[in-house]
């Protein structure tokens, strides 16, 4: 490779270039999101209106909330594939308690928290005590949750006719819908927890080197258990939101447009979370969720055909994955 330049000069130049490249690659997601916004601001009518900003945030709230918990689990080096099972069971539980048994809303939410803790414990039992690889174990627990949810609902969808749930969630404190407040609250709590608490440090340590973390006295099992409980809680929260919007309990096999594990996966990977754990920032994942939401919103405002839109999304995903791989190799 070396021909005319002196070695020293070339090294320095590649150093600079590399540093610049790394800076670009590290922040490509932020840059891409901003570029996307500028592009749509000029090309997509009504993109830069208050209504659209709020609506885009509302659109991304469910995926965003699930991704927050999912990210924390991924950081411990665990993959949680039980999203669809938890969503179904939480939604049916919410409908049964709130609508059929007439449990007041606050108590329903409290009981759902308890149920989430139990669901997280089931998954973590399989992973920790069963010593099963997390992806497999959570696929298994997801299957059990799905079965339970269908059984609990007696194979029927439950319509929510009591207005309190919608009234509470469609509230707009300071003009901003509740779902957006919840979304940002989840990420704020996650950010503080990961960066400023001992638990956060333990999560990163467990994910980056499980054995080393265990040997240095970090309660790795408890860390994974807590992470799974957090993920179950955020997923249940998203399920309540989805239930309120659908006016129905989400039933497995029927909700095609419900919470989608692939979306969550995509967002987490776009945000640069490593599947091996220990690497990644939760705030980047929020941007990734918004990026995906802005992309579909903008393409739709431009009136692009849905098929084109799908291909663009696929290309964006492949591109993002390649960029991330290049970044990690530098």
């Amino acid at each position: 490779m070396a021909n005319s330049d002196t070695l020293e000069y070339r090294n320095r130049r590649t150093d600079d270039a590399q540093r610049l490249l790394r800076l670009a690659l590290d922040n490509w997601l932020y840059a891409a999101t901003i570029l996307l916004c500028i592009f749509f601001a000029f090309r997509a009518p009504n993109f830069l209106t208050v209504d659209n900003v709020i609506n885009t945030l509302v659109s991304s709230s469910i995926t965003g909330i699930v991704t927050a918990g999912f990210t924390i689990v991924l950081l411990t080096g665990t993959i949680d594939a039980s999203t669809s099972g938890i969503t179904a069971l939480a939604s049916v539980l919410c409908a049964v308690m709130f609508q059929q048994w007439g449990v007041p809303l606050p108590l329903t939410l409290l009981l759902l928290m308890v149920a989430s803790i139990l669901m997280g414990l089931v998954s973590s039992f399989l992973i920790i005590e069963g010593r099963i690889y997390s992806l497999i174990a959570t696929l298994g627990s997801s299957g059990v949750f799905l079965g339970l949810s269908v059984g609990l609902a007696a194979g029927q969808q439950i319509a929510i006719t009591k207005p309190e749930l919608q009234n509470a969630l469609f509230e707009r404190p300071l003009g901003i819908p509740v779902s957006i407040w919840v979304l940002f609250l989840c990420y704020l709590l996650g950010y503080v927890m990961l960066n400023h608490t001992r638990l956060g440090a333990h999560i990163y340590a467990t994910g980056s080197n499980y054995s080393a973390a265990r040997l240095s006295g970090i309660p790795v099992k408890r860390v994974i258990r807590i992470a799974l409980i957090i993920a179950a809680t955020t997923t249940s929260l998203a399920a309540v939101l989805a239930t309120a919007r659908a006016n129905l309990s989400l039933l497995y096999g029927v909700t095609i447009g419900g919470v989608n594990l692939a979306d969550v996966f995509t967002a987490a990977l776009l945000g640069g979370i490593s599947l091996r754990g220990g690497v990644g920032k939760i705030e980047r994942n929020l941007v990734a969720v918004l990026f995906l939401s802005i992309l579909s919103n903008g393409l739709q405002l431009m009136g692009t055909a849905p098929a084109v839109w799908l291909v663009i999304k696929g290309l964006a995903f492949v591109g993002a994955v390649i960029i991330d791989a290049v970044r990690q190799r530098l």
């Binding site: 609506n55 659109s59 029927q156 006719t161 006016n247 029927v254 095609i256 579909s296 919103n297 799908l310």
Partner: protein, 349 residues
Amino acid sequence: MFIKRFMHLLFVSSMLLASAGVLAQDATTYTADEIKEASGVEQCSQLAELPKEFSEDWKLAFINPNKAQSFWGQVSVGMNAAAEFYGVEFVEMDSAGGPDVELFETLLLNQPDVVGTHNAVDYEAVAARALDENIPYIGFDNGQTEYSPYVYGIPNGIAGEAGAELLIEGVQARLDTDWKDRELFFLEFTHNGIPACVDRTGAAATAFKEHFELDDEHIIQLDLATGATEIEMMLSTLTAHPDAVFAMIPCWDGLGIAPYNAAVEAGREADIMLVTLGGDKPPADLLLTKPQGYYGYIEFQPYCEGWGWIESALAIAEGVRFAPYQARRAVTQADIEQRYAELYGAPSS
């Protein structure tokens, strides 16, 4: 001798004819009233005059696409009730959203006399297999296929048109009053991966477009196959046209109710008009609360449609004529109380 025999034959046959005529009036076939009574609150209308004594012990078989879904659950209840009423053996399977072709082989092991399925993706293949085995096939809401002479139910295209008809009625009323001079869009909520949906909402879009003479830009397809949720798409569409009003038909009830609520969340309830297709208990529950923009739904009466399938299948086996199923009815806010009371009793407060 010949004449005597001929007279004898004539006498016997005329006696037979007379007795058949008399019996038809009272005991040998079921009457429409008997069916109405037997089918309970649903009061299904009779599709075929079936004899009270069948010529053979018929065995019918059907693959339900997903009994966990409330619509198909009701179809199953209706089918089983009818089979019990007519005293015939009925074999039912559930493909739970999957393909039917493999399951159909298992169904054939029961040696049924008439078979049926509902699966927009592979019903033709199932009909072709039934033809191989010389078993009559009568599909459910599928429409015509070259592999079977029989059609049953509401084909998706017609269901979509019926929905459009009801929606046109509702939208016209609004256009005369509070929607005067507003820009009108039609939203087609569909899933391009599900052929039944493409067919159903596509027909609705075409009918709506023709009636209001809309151009292509005012017909917006919101496709779940893109991976975006119906809520996301609804919200984007609302902001794309801040001053417009929207008429919408979804492929199934839930696919319309969720975006409706999203519009409520976005403060645009006054700008939308919804008609859904299916009409089982969940949409009835919602319509009972009279949301401003939920005009009504096309009720396919799943129980009666299931009941009628059994009647039609038995008619094929017996070689009796059967009438097409037409019990779809439009339910709007004006008559929901009455309809709800008929089907589910007094609403729980």
